[in-house]
């Protein structure tokens, strides 16, 4: 979930990074225009990837691993990005009366690539294994809404009390509290099913994972070289993969990959180096796709520090930033200014949600003065991830527009950066980001802004906001829930514990050999629908 980088080298770091984005969806060609009816399947293409931190569903919290895993696995559900709603993949349908106890009906024709059937028991076994602290899976805390999570984590129980197998095709899930986005959440990487074989030796298993997805591994994961997969012909879904074979070429440096696409050695590159934005149209002509994503960058305030407690200080600082100017000058236009915290890629987004996100230097200066904003600021960001330029630009604007006299910078290695946050030792505005692991307005807000949650680095706490989120999570009706989420968002944008800055626009380039290249809001290329044209 965080975006720790925009750049190239950072991609390598995916590990530390964290951009999780992993929700799924993949398993179906959601939405978007499906390939032409006449789309001919077949062929092989290569696509850029960074070296995954690992290839274990329960342990993959970054985009390099998750984008591969979502082709190898099919979850209970996937998401249609047009409507923002979940639909069944392994599940046929589900029902709940109170958003607490859910019954999922499963298809009986899904199999793992080794022939093992996928049943309700498979999901229960996988989930219990992922949550078991002995297995140290990074995605374990995505299960914290399921009844019995705490007991398993504390070693008081072996299995999740809230996951019950009724029969082979019926799975019952009971939660701690009402949570209506459950079907959307279950589309996330961390909830994919694993075959029994995986539990014998997970480290060996991940070198050539066996899944139940559209594609299966073709040989082993060649670290830092490539991951090859071929279509799994027994995948029972409606929209199997189009190409016969997909090769993920692993690159260290996105600049190298860019040259390779130019030379025709690589077919798809999902993100270009920022400095190429100015020349990409010359280099690729029609073979480029621009997509809005949920990748959100913000400046948070350490609300535990005295000088940032007046909301007007925060409002003024937000209004003193000319987002578009920074986007044009530093990102060559490849961002869109943020005017909300629910991102534009979700149907619940409202363009005019934020009253303090437009550039108004005069009003900002006056407000800052009256509220007695600090004369000296220290800005925090993690180093080596391409943040230097824009953080400096913001500092300049604050100096110019608010009369801040002195601004200093703390750029730290990521691990060190997080340590400072954990110890509440940050003394000024800090950079962080967020990518939706699953596309729900709940996920855009609850994990960052509710009281006491682990990614709430501002230490923001507003009871009314918390209650609205809880209420929205519990409501049956989607429209009603959306309205409540938006109401919560309004409170957030009034309190402004963070300054919304921008959403990333992805530029994806490809060769003449492929068509129908699309990127979804999680920043994943929909590889399963890419067509090889020659």
């Amino acid at each position: 979930m965080i975006i720790k980088k925009t750049g190239t080298r950072a991609a390598i770091l995916a590990a530390t990074v964290a951009l999780v984005a992993a929700a799924c969806g993949s398993d179906d060609d959601d939405s978007t225009d499906a390939p032409d009816e006449a789309a001919e399947s077949g062929g092989e293409f290569t696509i850029y990837n960074c070296e995954p931190q690992n290839l274990m569903t329960g342990n993959s919290s970054e985009v390099c691993g998750s984008s591969v895993l979502e082709q190898l696995y099919s979850g209970l559900t996937a998401v249609d990005y047009d409507t923002g709603e979940a639909y069944g993949v392994v599940a046929t349908d589900w029902e709940t009366e109170d958003n607490v106890t859910w019954t999922f009906n499963l298809r009986d024709d899904f199999t793992f690539h080794n022939g093992d059937p996928v049943t309700a028991q498979t999901f229960a076994d996988t989930w219990n294994w992922v949550v078991d602290p002995d297995n140290a899976q990074q995605n374990a805390n995505f299960y914290d809404k399921i009844l019995g999570y705490e007991d398993v984590i504390n070693g008081d129980a072996e299995e999740l009390e809230g996951v019950r197998v009724i029969d082979d095709t019926t799975l019952e899930i009971e939660l701690n509290e009402p949570f209506s986005p459950l079907p959307i959440m279950l589309s996330y990487t961390g909830f994919y099913p694993l075959p029994d074989e995986a539990f014998e030796d997970i480290e060996a298993f991940q070198e050539s994972p066996i899944g139940n997805g559209r594609y299966q591994m073709d040989g082993e994961w060649q670290h830092d070289v490539e991951i090859a997969m071929e279509r799994y012909e027994d995948w029972p879904g409606d929209d199997p993969g189009v190409a016969d074979r997909i090769v993920w070429r692993i690159y260290d440096d996105i600049n190298t990959a860019y040259l390779d696409v130019q030379a025709g050695e690589l077919d798809v590159l999902k993100q270009i180096p920022p400095e190429r934005e100015t020349t990409v149209e010359n280099d690729f002509g029609e073979n480029l796709v621009r997509t809005d994503t949920s990748s959100f960058t913000y400046m948070g305030f350490p609300l535990y520090q005295e000088e940032f407690q007046d909301p007007d200080v925060r409002h003024a600082m937000s209004m003193a930033i000319d987002r578009q100017a920074i986007i044009d000058a530093i990102f060559n236009g490849a961002r869109s200014p943020a005017t909300a915290v629910i991102p534009p890629v979700l149907p619940q987004h409202r363009e005019d949600a934020c009253d303090y996100c437009h550039f108004d230097p005069e009003a900002a200066a006056e407000m800052y003065d009256e509220a007695g904003g600090p004369d000296e600021l220290t800005l925090y960001f993690n180093s080596g991830a391409g943040h230097e330029d824009w953080v400096e630009a913001i500092a300049n604007q604050w100096q110019e527009n608010l009369g801040v006299e002195e601004i200093s910078f703390e750029d730290l290695e990521f691990a060190q950066y997080l340590d400072l946050h954990d110890n509440a030792e940050v003394t000024g505005p800090f950079r962080l980001g967020w990518v939706l692991s699953y596309p729900s307005p709940q996920y855009a807000m609850e994990p960052i802004y509710t009281t006491g949650v682990s990614s709430n680095y501002t230490h923001y706490s507003n009871e009314e906001f918390d209650n609205l989120i809880t209420e929205a999570n519990g409501v049956q009706d989607q429209a009603e829930a959306d309205a409540l989420y938006q109401e919560a968002e309004d409170i957030l944008l009034e309190d402004l514990p963070i300054i919304p800055l921008w959403y990333e626009t992805r530029t994806t380039v490809h060769t003449d050999r492929v068509s129908n290249v699309e990127v979804d809001p999680r920043t994943f290329v929909r590889v399963e629908q890419i067509q090889v044209t020659e």
């Binding site: 979930m1 965080i2 720790k4 080298r9 390598i12 770091l13 590990a15 530390t16 990074v17 964290a18 951009l19 999780v20 070296e51 931190q53 690992n54 274990m56 342990n59 919290s61 970054e62 602290p133 002995d134 297995n135 140290a136 899976q137 990074q138 374990a140 805390n141 504390n154 997970i202 480290e203 991940q206 670290h223 830092d224 070289v225 070429r249 692993i250 690159y251 260290d252 440096d253 600049n255 190298t256 990959a257 040259l259 390779d260 130019q262 030379a263 050695e265 730290l412 290695e413 990521f414 691990a415 997080l418 340590d419 946050h421 954990d422 962080l432 994990p447 682990s454 990614s455 680095y457």
Partner: protein, 307 residues
């Protein structure tokens, strides 16, 4: 000679122990908690973090951690990465890549640099000499990083002579990265050999050989050149260190899955086992090669004795 070799081999031990400990301590001293950073700003649950710290001995004090690591190392176990992959596997996969890159670079700097140096010395002040002087100055002045990127765009993308990245085409894939890695040293070898050869060509023993009526080829090849190689060999030995650090850059640019890249990643992620494992290997290679080079002196100049 034999005693000399044994004595040198015994010196390996403290060097390796000292080097591994220093590196281990340096990684240990990097601020920030590597486990905390694993999943970015969405923290892992405490239970998961605790299991991981326990598994990688991160709760132990430095000396205990180092002791456990060395104990494993003695049994041939280099430990595992944070995602559970044995470092042994990583080394086995990457060593051939790095060796090929190093060999390509060595051959290129030895052959091309050597030839350029000889030709320049033999035709002093001539066209070739001026060309070598100018081109080597330019090469020495450009950092490997810049040269690598330029070479990649010119020879890989625009001319299409060599692959831009990867190791798909076997040895052929290593020519361009090898040349870029070798460039600085190649220029230095050329200059060094030129100077050294010029000096020797004026020496008494060469005049003597010429006076005896030996052919020019024989005078230069058997006498002057052999003696002139001593400083070059010394340089090549010392240069290995520079080359190892160059692999980090070149492997990154040309996307070669070698050891340099892995060390870089290991440092960034504070994976002590990976960094120490690979650097230990580097140290071993380095000390072995310096021994080989010391032994070469005797061959080049029979007057050199080892006891």
């Amino acid at each position: 000679m034999k005693r000399y070799v044994i004595r040198r081999l015994l010196q390996f031990l403290p060097v390796v122990i000292g080097a591994t400990f220093i590196i281990f301590a340096l990684v240990f001293a990097i601020p920030g908690d590597p486990i905390r950073a694993l999943s970015g700003d969405r923290p892992l649950s405490d239970a998961v973090q605790e299991t991981l710290r326990e598994r990688y001995n991160l709760n132990d004090p430095l000396l205990i951690q180092y002791g456990k690591y060395m104990l494993g190392l003695l049994q041939g176990d280099f430990g595992t990465t944070f995602s559970g992959r044995p470092v042994n596997d990583i080394i086995v996969q990457r060593v051939p890549v790095s060796i090929r890159l190093a060999v390509s670079a060595l051959v290129i700097q030895g052959v091309i640099g050597g030839l350029a140096g000889i030709l320049a010395a033999l035709r002093r002040q001539g066209f070739v000499d001026s060309l070598v002087q100018v081109s080597t100055t330019v090469l020495v002045a450009i950092p490997t990083l810049v040269l690598g990127m330029i070479g990649q765009v010119v020879f890989g993308l625009h001319l299409g002579w060599f692959p831009i990245a990867g190791i798909d085409q076997g040895w052929y894939s290593y020519i361009l990265p090898g040349a870029m890695l070798a460039s600085t040293s190649m220029a230095l070898v050329a200059r060094l050999l030129r100077t050294s050869l010029l000096e020797n060509l004026r020496a008494d023993y060469v005049r003597m050989a010429t006076a005896k009526g030996l052919s020019r080829t024989r005078v230069v090849g058997r006498h002057a050149l052999r003696n002139s190689l001593i400083p070059v060999v010394t340089f090549l030995g010392a240069d290995l260190g520079t080359m190892l650090s160059g692999t980090v850059i070149i492997e990154g640019i040309f996307n070669l899955p070698g050891l340099g890249r892995e060390v870089f990643r290991g440092i960034q992620q504070q994976e002590g086992t990976v960094v120490v494992g690979i650097v230990t290997l580097f140290v071993l290679v380095f000390v072995t090669l310096s021994l080989v080079i010391d032994l070469l002196y005797a061959y080049l100049d029979p007057r050199i004795r080892y006891d």
